[in-house]
């Protein structure tokens, strides 16, 4: 627990260094309404002329209070701009995690069980291709095939961008309960928009998942193979347990341990790929906001985005650790 806080503080130090030391510290706090006259007051308020330790202390306390600076390009405080786009990114990353769980893990298991036969070779190739594929390029190709070519061929096609069809939404307004359209339309029974949001979600989430899918597939496979060689599997078989029970009850739980430890890495990959995927698919998430900010030289937004993703990753790793402790009774916290 202490480590967590320490790490987060460390992250803020890095970001502080990047934004306040390498770049113009004032830029963080200038709004579009700031007048020349107001600047000295701002400098005084944020202690921008004081020695670094003090500046950092002020910076940190402001972060905690919610003052993450002001985004010129969005004309609103960084934190509020990010939090508006937060649900969309959550929807995207959660859907990607689902792809990974539903395809990655079973594929890894099958690959291990049919070791060195056709399904194994195929999934290894897929996994290898996955870690070698540029996410943004994959997104573009998916759009090309499933949107453009399918439409050309008269096949039912998937939409190429956006989180849902805004024109359609005029007729079937989407409520804002969780901020995730797929959930909101489900809760309110808005089936037209539910289908639409789902359709919009398919390609981007798959593209984002593809890289991490490969990693999880491979590690599930190799850890499953390792586990199946263990002595306790021989004992399980010698008890006369059906093979199904041996695999799912005895082997799988053990095999998931290394997979879960890699999960943190996979999630980092998902978060990192989000800006690219959101940009390519016009997805209204934080990632795209950050990428747009690059073009508009909006450093505060980029830094805020970095901080929030670090927070998300730290949280995700915490969840992973807890899961790990649940799977392996030898670990005590």
């Amino acid at each position: 627990m202490f480590l967590l806080v320490f790490v987060l503080i460390g992250v803020t130090i890095i970001i502080f260094f990047l934004s306040q030391v390498l770049m113009d510290p004032l830029a963080l706090y200038l709004t579009d309404k700031t007048t020349q006259a107001a600047i000295p007051a701002i400098i005084a308020h944020y202690h921008l002329n004081d020695p670094w330790p003090i500046r950092y202390a002020v910076y940190l306390s402001n972060l905690v209070r919610g003052d993450w600076g002001f985004s010129q390009s969005e004309s609103e405080p960084v934190l509020s701009a990010l939090s508006q786009r937060f649900p969309a990114t959550i929807e995207l990353t959660t859907a990607s995690i689902l792809w990974i769980l539903v395809i990655g893990i079973p594929a890894g298991i099958i690959s291990a069980l049919k070791n060195n036969k056709a399904p194994d070779h195929i999934s290894r190739l897929v996994a290898l291709t996955g870690v070698s594929t540029p996410v943004f390029w994959l997104g573009l190709i998916l759009q090309l095939v499933f949107f453009y070519y399918f439409a050309q061929l008269g096949l039912p096609h998937l939409p190429s961008s956006g989180i849902y069809d805004t024109t359609l939404a005029l007729e079937y307004p989407v409520a804002t309960i969780t901020g995730l359209p797929v959930l909101d339309t489900l809760i309110t029974g808005n089936w037209v928009m539910f289908e639409d949001s789902l359709a919009h979600l398919v390609l981007p989430s798959f593209a984002l998942a593809f890289v991490s899918l490969g990693i999880i597939m491979r590690i599930t496979r190799s850890s499953m193979l390792e586990v199946l060689r263990q002595d306790y599997i021989i004992l399980a078989r010698s008890k006369g347990l059906p093979e199904r029970v041996v695999i799912y009850r005895h082997a799988l739980k053990n095999a998931m341990i290394p997979t879960v430890t890699v999960a943190g890495l996979a999630i980092a990959g998902l978060l990192g790929g989000a800006p690219l995927t959101e940009t390519v698919f016009g997805w209204p998430g934080m990632g795209r906001l950050a990428v747009d900010a690059i073009g508009r030289n909006d450093a505060p937004l980029i830094m805020g985005f970095t901080l929030i993703t670090a927070l998300m990753l730290v949280l995700a790793n915490l969840v992973v650790d807890i899961l790990y402790g649940y799977l392996d009774p030898r670990i005590k916290y």
């Binding site: 263990q230 306790y232 021989i234 004992l235 078989r237 010698s238 006369g240 029970v245 009850r249 030898r330």
Partner: protein, 349 residues
């Protein structure tokens, strides 16, 4: 008075395919285990004892292939029956206890789960137990709910833990293997085997991985169990002391062959095969004055290129010319004593 045979291993030959070559692990293994008896299988590490056990239980790794022989049990050849049949045999008729309780127990499942699952494999048996309890009803319960099955399985698990002399059964059932000591873990493994009430219990070097004091405890347990256990036991070990204590008959194995087989008293009083003689000489005796422990010269042979003829001949001080080229067969020297050695080919030069 012919004792009935429970399982017969006949001329089993087995090879392992490895990158270094073909390991001819079992050359010609022949023996039988009779009903109700405890047969010891002794030999050095690497002589093929464990492999033989795995062959009987159908647990050989993929790179093993049996090129000759049969294993007859309950009228079937265990080497050729279908996997599903073998599985059923493992579930109720043949049970094996392994050497290392640390690696052979699943670290992420509780002891309770690992014992109960053995009982849960046999719902009819659970129902029978339930019927016996329900004397007032006096009917046979055919269908038990999952819940009821679990309850009965738990009760039976506690019983079997008592059988292996473990106290505080409730607590142990909830614990994980790493929370128990080595001796306790081994008792749990034995419990898992007893839970099936098997016709044949195979114990593969079950004390080797334990330290000496714990070994003694397990030995005591086995002595106790021997009184009540109705089935047969195949006790695999390299420790002649255990054999002397627990076994009715003994088979001596060397480099993939059975070289001598006799009643336990006979073997110790009158070892015939040069290898057996060597083994006996190597044991320190408390009642005799010994200046040196004698060793058997030479080393265990390379099984990729085993010696021709009798596999023991390079180390044998009595080796004849014949031993280098002709493999000796197991021949009877008396009703209960067989040996595979050219020294005892009656009448043959």
């Amino acid at each position: 008075m012919a004792e009935e045979s429970l399982i017969q291993v006949n001329h089993v030959k087995l090879d392992f395919h490895t990158y270094a070559g073909e390991v001819k692990a079992l050359d010609d293994v022949t023996f039988e285990v009779r009903k109700g008896e405890a047969l010891g299988l002794v030999g050095e590490s690497g002589c093929g004892k464990s492999v033989t056990a795995l062959s009987i239980d159908g647990l050989l790794p993929e790179n093993a292939s049996v090129t000759n022989g049969e294993i007859i049990f309950a009228g079937k050849n265990l080497l050729t029956i279908k996997k599903e049949e073998m599985r059923k045999i493992r579930a109720s008729q043949i049970a094996m206890v392994f050497q290392d309780p640390t690696t052979f127990l699943n670290p992420v499942l509780t002891i309770g789960e690992q014992i109960e699952e053995v009982f849960l494999l046999n719902p009819e048996h659970l129902a029978a137990v339930a019927s016996r309890d329900d004397e007032s009803e006096n009917k046979t319960i055919s269908n038990l709910s999952k819940q009821q099955q679990k309850r009965i399985a738990k009760r039976l698990s506690i019983d079997v833990l008592k059988q292996v002399r473990l106290g505080d059964q409730d607590r142990i059932l909830k614990q994980y293997p790493h929370e128990l000591s080595g001796g306790m873990r081994q008792r749990c493994m034995i419990a898992m085997a007893l839970a099936r009430n098997p016709d044949l219990l195979i114990a593969d070097e079950i004390t080797t991985a334990l330290d000496v004091t714990i070994q003694a405890q397990i030995l005591e347990l086995l002595r106790d169990l021997k009184r009540d256990f109705r089935g047969s036991t195949l006790l695999i070990t390299h420790d002649l002391g255990i054999v002397a204590e627990l076994c009715d008959r003994v088979a001596v194995m060397y480099a993939g062959n059975i070289v001598e087989l006799a009643d336990v008293g006979d073997l110790f009083a009158n070892p015939l095969h040069p290898y057996t003689k060597g083994l006996m000489k190597a044991i320190p005796m408390l009642d005799r004055r010994m200046n040196r422990l004698e060793t058997i010269q030479g080393a265990v042979p390379d099984l990729i290129n085993p010696p021709s003829g009798c596999r023991f001949h390079p180390r044998c001080s009595f080796a004849l010319e014949k031993c280098k080229s002709v493999k000796p067969e197991l021949l009877h020297v008396s009703n209960s004593h067989t040996v595979a050695c050219h020294l005892y080919d009656e009448g043959k030069p």
